[in-house]
């Protein structure tokens, strides 16, 4: 890793260099909520001033750019009794992500483990993930952020460069030669000891700002023991089974597949749709049997996949602590409260 610094106005120059030839996606203000607070979203950006570098979080993760909510896996051309299949990975050029927070970078790293480095990599993901260029940016912990508890408050890899605001200038971590080559066109300086000290100070200050946390000590074992706990029923009664927690989760990747024939009967398609394990028919199989018809079971298994199953398989949790699920849940179900209740055996 290389460390550099550059003056703040250089960032706009970097944007112009990159955006001249690439598709850039960054955080923009999409609307205002009922309290007149900005609602941010990752969108295509064409002007540097549209990017909200100090955004708090986005309602939806950047997931849709590499795991779209809906995506055709294959299309078919039908002529008489013959048919021809075509596959498109649905990506025409790589995406530059401008300003991902550490949690979202870590989410990508976790998805890579399943969708890129497993026995059966998913080509639709890989095609979008490869050649992706990621600029990370430091953030301020929000009341719902518990990334620190999940070990996801800093990103050690999975980005090209990561910028941290030191007040007068940016402190830059460079991880790839692509990033290095871009930076050669800017006025940069080697990071001095004082820059490193300032950077460490900034990191330390950030750590102190976290208010939400979960205790993950022995969590897999505790979850094993509390499989029959009454608290799951209590949370199940609250859950709306709407699936929003999964849809806003940067690491949820489960999906369903549907095959449809075009109305002119000359074409057909196989479509993938991101699904949620909290939705009623998630575990319904051919023949109609539903393995998880009960709401509390579905909610429980979501937690078991994130905090137990994935840990057993990959030695880390499938949760980055971004807090989006708790923020979006109309019933107010948050990860920190659910985990705490499992430990104490009571929801209150």
């Amino acid at each position: 890793m290389l460390f550099k610094t550059f003056a703040k106005e250089e960032l706009k120059i970097l944007f112009e260099i990159i955006a001249a030839h690439n598709r850039v996606v960054g955080p923009v203000e999409k609307a205002r909520d009922r309290n007149n607070k900005p609602i941010y979203a990752f969108e295509d950006v064409h002007e540097f001033h549209d990017i909200q570098l100090n955004y708090t979080t986005t309602k939806l993760p950047a997931k849709r750019f590499f795991l779209p909510f809906k995506e055709d896996l294959s299309t078919f051309k039908i002529e008489d009794d013959k048919w021809q299949k075509s596959i498109d990975y649905n990506i025409d050029r790589p995406v530059v992500f401008w300003g991902l927070h550490a949690c979202d970078i870590n989410a990508l790293n976790k998805l890579d483990k399943v969708l890129l480095h497993s026995v059966y990599p998913m080509p639709y993901y890989a095609a979008k993930r490869k050649n992706m260029f990621i600029i990370g940016i430091d953030c301020e912990p929000q009341p719902f952020c518990f990334c620190r508890s999940m070990g996801a408050d800093t990103a050690l890899h999975g980005f090209d460069l990561f910028i941290t605001d030191l007040g007068e200038k940016y402190f830059v971590e460079i991880l790839t030669d692509t990033a290095f080559n871009f930076l050669r066109e800017l006025k940069t300086a080697d990071a001095l000891e004082e820059d490193h000290i300032l950077y460490m100070k900034k990191v330390d200050e950030k750590k102190k700002q976290f208010t939400a946390r979960i205790d993950t000590t022995d969590l897999t074992k505790i979850l094993d023991m509390e499989f029959q706990s009454e608290v799951w029923h209590q949370w199940g009664d609250k859950c709306l089974s709407c699936g929003s927690c999964s849809n806003v989760c940067p690491t949820c990747y489960c999906y369903g597949v549907e095959e449809t024939v075009n109305i002119d009967l000359k074409g057909a398609r196989k479509t993938k749709m991101l699904y949620s394990c909290n939705v009623i028919d998630f575990a319904e199989v051919a023949g109609g049997h539903n393995f998880r018809p009960l709401r509390h079971n579905r909610l429980k298994y979501r937690y078991y996949h994130k905090h137990r199953g994935f840990v057993e398989a990959f030695e880390e949790s499938l949760c980055v602590g971004c807090g989006r699920c708790g923020e979006t849940c109309l019933a107010g179900i948050t990860v920190s409260e659910v985990i705490a209740s499992v430990k104490t055996g009571s929801k209150e």
Binding site: R34, K59, L60, D80, C242, I263, L265, S276, V279, I280
Partner: protein, 264 residues
């Protein structure tokens, strides 16, 4: 396999059976049938999959020789009951088309009044009509399939008809509108202070109303396993009045509320 129609359709070389279908309406605005005629781009393809033998809104010719009956509207009069029973006898498959046919729709709002005779008087005055309690089709005859929505979503009807023609199973979404709304990347309307029944209403409309910044009114009825009690609580906690909540839940008749059960 028996086929009919001059230009026999094939799929992967196999000739398709073109079922004879008829459209009927009872107490309704006929908007669901209009939806089917609306999509001109695919209308001819749609009509080549089925043989329409009766469709008052679209054609003059009519025949009683049909296999599938698509029925729009709720039942409010005695003569409607008789007509519906006759259709049931003739049709192999009876489809309730739209929320009125499925749950009574907007019409059933009048069931809220305890004195329906007074309602009749207030609405029709000197010219009373025989119109009583609003009932969905399934109150009177066996319904084989329901297509929800006010109005129905043309794309969903098309998908159903394609699968019907190909002999594929027909599966309606069991999950709520929220799934489609999130996939459409809408901002949750609750964030902006709007009430919405998206979390408990059956999907399939592609979150039509929230896409246009209007909260869901539940026209498609409850999703499977909809947590209606929790939804009421959520809306109440967010400061919506009981009246607002009941207005939404009762508007299309899909959600059985206690008050209504008392009357049935």
């Amino acid at each position: 396999m028996k086929t009919n129609g001059a230009d026999d359709k094939t799929y992967l070389g196999i000739p398709l059976y073109r079922p004879r279908v008829a459209f009927f309406e009872f107490t309704s605005c006929e908007g669901c049938q209009l939806q089917i005629l609306n999509n001109e781009g695919t209308l001819l393809d749609f009509l080549s999959l089925v043989e329409v033998v009766a469709f008052r809104e679209a054609m003059t010719e009519k025949s009683d020789d049909y296999e599938i009956a698509f029925i729009e509207g709720s039942i409010t009069r005695d003569d409607e009951v008789e007509r519906l029973k006759k259709i049931r006898k003739k049709a192999k498959v009876l489809v309730a088309l739209g929320s009125c046919a499925c749950f009574g729709g907007v019409n059933q709002l009048k069931n809220r009044f305890h004195d329906l005779i007074a309602v009749n008087k207030m609405v029709y005055g000197e010219h009373p009509v025989n119109s009583g309690l609003v009932r969905p089709l399934c109150d009177i005859v066996k319904v084989d399939m329901q297509i929800f929505g006010c109005p129905v979503k043309k794309e969903e009807v098309e998908k159903i008809v394609i699968n019907l023609a190909l002999g594929k199973s027909i599966v309606l979404p069991k999950y709520p509108v929220c799934m489609e709304c999130k996939a459409n990347e809408n901002i949750c309307l609750f964030e902006q202070g709007e009430p919405c029944l998206g979390p408990i209403t059956r999907a399939g409309c592609d979150s039509w109303c929230p896409n246009n910044k209007a909260g869901c009114w539940g026209c498609r009825g409850p999703a499977d396993d909809a947590n209606v009690e929790q939804m009421k609580k959520v809306m109440k906690d967010l400061g919506f009045s009981d009246e607002t909540i009941m207005d939404r839940l009762e508007c299309f008749g899909g959600f059985q509320t206690d008050e209504k059960n008392g009357q049935r």
